[in-house]
Amino acid sequence: MALMITCPVCGPRNGYEFRYGGEDKGPRPAQRELSPGDWFQYVHANDCADGIQKEWWVHRDGCGVWFTTYRDTTVNREVPPPEEDA
């Protein structure tokens, strides 16, 4: 089945209307005393989870909003947030 993504503004829409925005890595680290290692972790490093991951999307061909959601990368389906995050 094709990917459906739920936009917080427009509701569930076809995945091809969206652009993937990367794994959610929390807030951008503070610039002061930022080590190259921490910057690498934030900019380049990924978990590459084969399972459920929290990730960014933007509704590119829609309302333009950026938001996070959860998706199971093994089946390419959006999933509800896990308990601890709901």
Partner: protein, 407 residues
């Protein structure tokens, strides 16, 4: 009915409690490394641990294109040596790898693409690799089926012609290397999943598998598209990798019409004609990371539209078969080969995206040297993981790609 079948290699060696080296992943890189460890470095007490069957990963799914016309001086020599090794391995393994040395035509559709090709060609020539710039008319002479008219979406302005590349039979590489490695004493354990890497005082001591623990001082992770997840799970090490499904398909067999591998960046399509006559074609990766290895109508349609623009004679031809595999992409489109970090005896060879077939022969040779000697061979040094932290990304792509927002 045609006589008894005899396995090419010993398929049922017992799993020993210890090996000099354990290789996780029975793909191209794992098998090549095992073969070179045994044949060049005398390290024969080696186990290749494969979760499914050998060739299950990208090894059996790739579109078999080989070439050495990359962009940077760090990459070209490695791929050149890989090209040179196909005939050597064919002889050594006594197994026909079916190197069809038909050359590659990389179509150029803009002034910018022509200029970029000029740089690649200069790099290739400087490093002793044959590569030329040709114009659209010359490309048409070489490949009469090509549409060089102006009224397509991206008219063809010229091509980068790279005669030494072509196609190698990918299954034959898997089988040939397995046969060669096993004959030298390497144990290939299929249906065995590596679950954990154990260590003491910063040194690798064992690999835990679904069939028990194996003691070993050195382990290589060469699990293809699964490497990043495996390494993260086993060692908590996060890599600059995104894993995406990449799709491929073949048409019904046709009379010979493509004498060269063709590729087009603008159309996101590449194609070659197999020895059976099918047009084998692949495309860009899925637009978001996933491990599905499923085909999508979106790409089948894209592929058909793109192919028919550059090769109009394919209109109406049917796709017979589609399949997909994983591409583990790095931000600079160059792989990560590293060792003894974060554990002594831990080696990794991943981030090969959709170019890990053409490299496997040379990489197996050098990863074997790395593992046997414990020191990084000069040619592999630029591929260390630390380059990302030191902002020394490789220039294999003109602009930094990100499989997150810009893909």
């Amino acid at each position: 009915m045609f006589g008894r079948t005899k396995p090419l290699w010993d398929t049922g060696p017992e799993l020993k409690s210890g090996y000099d080296a354990v290789i996780i992943g029975g793909g191209l890189h794992g098998l090549a490394t095992a073969y070179f460890l045994a044949s060049r470095y005398g390290m024969r007490d080696v186990a290749v641990i494969e979760k499914r069957h050998i060739g299950f990963g990208g090894a059996g799914r790739n579109t078999a294109i080989v070439r050495a016309n990359q962009r940077t001086q760090e990459n070209v020599p490695l791929y050149k040596e890989a090209l040179d090794l196909w005939p050597v391995l064919t002889r050594e393994l006594d197994f026909n790898l079916m190197f069809n040395n038909c050359g590659n035509l990389n179509l150029l559709h803009s002034e910018a693409a022509v200029n970029a090709a000029r740089m690649n060609i200069a790099t290739a020539q400087f490093l002793g690799v044959e590569s030329h710039l040709i114009d659209a008319r010359q490309a048409k002479e070489m490949m009469p089926a090509l549409n060089i008219s102006e009224d397509i979406t991206y008219p063809i302005m010229g091509a980068m012609y790279h005669p030494p590349g072509g196609i190698v039979r990918h299954d034959a590489v898997v089988w040939g290397l397995a046969k060669g490695a096993a004959a030298l004493g390497v144990h290939i354990h299929q249906h065995t999943e590596a679950a954990a890497i154990e260590s003491r005082h910063g040194k690798v001591t064992a690999v835990a598998t679904s069939r028990g623990k194996i003691l070993t001082p050195r382990v290589l992770v060469s699990a293809g598209g699964y490497s990043a997840a495996v390494i993260h799970r086993m060692l908590g090490l996060r890599l600059p990798i995104s894993v995406l499904t990449i799709q491929a398909m073949v048409t019904q067999p046709l009379k010979p019409l493509l004498d060269h591998v063709i590729s087009s960046g603008a159309y996101h399509v590449y194609a070659n004609q197999t020895l059976k006559g099918e047009i084998a074609t692949g495309a860009h990766m899925d637009p978001w990371p996933n491990y599905t290895t499923q085909n999508t109508a979106y790409y089948v349609k894209h592929q058909a539209e793109a192919l028919v623009e550059i090769l109009p004679c394919l209109a109406g031809v049917r796709f017979m078969r589609t399949w997909a595999g994983l591409a583990d992409m790095t931000p600079d489109m160059a792989p990560i080969m590293d060792g003894n970090h974060p554990l002594e005896g831990f080696y990794m060879d991943c981030g090969w995206g959709y170019f890990g077939f053409k490299s496997c022969s040379a990489v197996g040779k050098y990863m074997a040297q790395y593992m046997a000697e414990g020191r990084c061979p000069e040619i592999l040094k630029p591929f260390a993981l630390e380059r990302y932290e030191q902002h020394r990304l490789m220039g294999e792509t003109a602009a930094l790609v990100s499989y997150s927002p810009d893909n």
